[in-house]
């Protein structure tokens, strides 16, 4: 018994040097669990949208003619570029390049804001045509894109905090988890949009 207690009390101070895979971070694992939940949420929303499409196929064609494909295609590109900048920000802090980190994160902020602006413009176009939350495709469209847009907005606020922390020198090549976790979230929002863009606008 005494021997066991002694074993427990002995701290393991060094990681296993022979291990090849990166160590597991509990923070990152938590984020991945969160993203797993988000997968369920967005799949449910997308399936609901698809159900409406199957049920009212003819009406959907009319609704789709109201959608602004060139604008949304551009918006999709904007989000992909912002995702790329998020990767570059992590690369920058990996080199201890704090200036690069901040510039790339500001780029993410600007492009994310542009994306929201583009979506707001499309929403206003649709609403001016009489398509509202109470209409057959307005309802699933505004809910799905609205929930995604809310995620983008949350990401932008998060980005602001990361920029502020970056400016205060909180990140370095040894401490970059905050940037990395923000990046995971931002890329996930990008993935969701990639799928939404195909389901709503293209297919």
């Amino acid at each position: 018994m005494t021997e066991n207690v002694q074993n427990i009390k002995q701290p393991r101070t060094t990681p296993n040097p022979g291990r090849m895979l990166p160590q597991r971070s509990n923070n990152k694992l938590a984020v991945w669990f969160f993203l797993g939940g988000e997968v369920v949420l967005f799949t449910a929303l997308i399936m609901t949208f698809l159900m409406f499409r199957v049920r009212y196929a003819t009406d959907y064609e009319t609704f789709r003619s109201y959608l602004n494909l060139p604008l949304t295609g551009l918006n999709t590109l904007i989000l992909i570029v912002s995702s790329y900048l998020a990767v570059r920000s992590l690369q920058a802090i990996g080199r201890n390049d704090r200036r690069g980190l901040i510039y790339n994160l500001i780029g993410v902020l600007l492009l994310g804001t542009l994306f929201i602006g583009g979506q707001a413009f499309e929403w206003s176009e649709l609403i001016s045509r009489g398509i509202t939350l109470s209409t057959i495709f307005g309802s699933p469209f505004f809910i799905v894109t609205g929930i995604h847009g809310t995620h983008v907005l949350i990401g932008l606020v998060w980005d602001c905090f990361i920029i502020l922390f970056g400016l205060s020198g909180a990140f370095s090549s040894n401490e970059s988890r905050g940037v990395e976790i923000f990046g995971l979230y931002w890329h996930f929002v990008d993935i969701v949009w990639v799928v939404l863009f195909s389901v709503i606008y293209l297919l």
Binding site: N27, T62, L77, G130, T135, E180
Partner: protein
């Protein structure tokens, strides 16, 4: 206890292929948008192509931008678990999705006399015929608009359908016209029936929601026959109407109403 350390960032981010991944994502996106304008592409091929491109894009972001490929594989598990959880959801939705609502022709309402199929769209009223013999007429009114409510008003008038008296905001002045019967608030995707006993003459059907009349929701209609022959039949305004309203949930309710002159 698991040690909370990550591999040094330099090791994780030293891979230099992110620009290539970004370029692939951008090119795929441009190609996807371009397919919408390629009219010659078969639908099945286009759909398959778009699904494959979307999956590739999502996987590329997941593997490289989210760096699952370089990171601990354990992180993929919760994500995959979420994806597995939605399978029953997809099955439930897939199995319970019913085919489109049947049209008015499938309506179980028993009808006498002539049937006119009326289709309301934004902003047009389509009729299966523009004239019927006098007597019992049943209108199957279907709102096929994508997302808009409409109404169906039957007016007895000699004026052309687009020359009814309107007020300053484009509404037809309902007090200045002879309304035989109306169905208001016909929700999109629903079918309503109206049964009328119509005298010979010229009628106009309109939707009098704001701007709908002026946008084109008006159409003329003729009831054939000689007025004398109808003298013995019921007065025009004595229209008995029955409405069967199908909601999207397919709960069918029957509403019987007698129109007042």
């Amino acid at each position: 206890m698991a040690q909370e350390t990550t591999a040094p960032v330099e090791q994780q981010t030293e891979w230099q292929g992110y620009s290539i991944i970004f370029a692939i994502l951008a090119i795929f996106t441009i190609f996807e948008v371009a397919t919408a304008y390629l009219s010659g592409l078969p639908v099945a091929l286009r759909t398959g192509l778009l699904v494959v491109l979307a999956i590739i894009k999502a996987v590329l972001v997941l593997l490289y931008f989210m760096r699952l490929r370089f990171d601990n594989r354990l992180f993929a598990l919760p994500f995959a678990f979420g994806a597995v959880l939605v399978v029953p959801l997809i099955l439930i939705i897939g199995l319970t999705t019913t085919p489109p609502i049947p049209t008015a022709a499938a309506n179980s309402l028993s009808v006498d006399g002539n049937i006119v199929d009326v289709t309301l769209r934004s902003y047009i009223i389509d009729l299966s015929t523009d004239h019927v013999p006098s007597g019992q007429v049943t209108f199957h009114i279907t709102n096929q608009a994508t997302d808009m409510m409409h109404e169906f008003i039957v007016i007895k008038t000699d004026k052309p359908s687009d020359q009814l008296p309107t007020n300053e905001i484009g509404h037809v002045k309902e007090e200045a016209i002879n309304i035989i019967d109306s169905r208001e608030d016909i929700f999109f995707g629903t079918t309503v029936n109206m049964q009328l006993n119509l005298k010979p003459g010229h009628y106009v059907f309109i939707c009098n929601l704001p701007e709908h009349y002026q946008a084109g929701m008006n159409v003329g209609f003729t009831v054939d026959g000689t007025p004398d022959a109808e003298a013995t039949s019921a007065a025009t305004a004595e229209s008995t109407s029955e409405a069967t309203i199908e909601s999207t949930s397919e709960a069918t309710s029957e509403v019987t109403a007698t129109a007042t002159p």
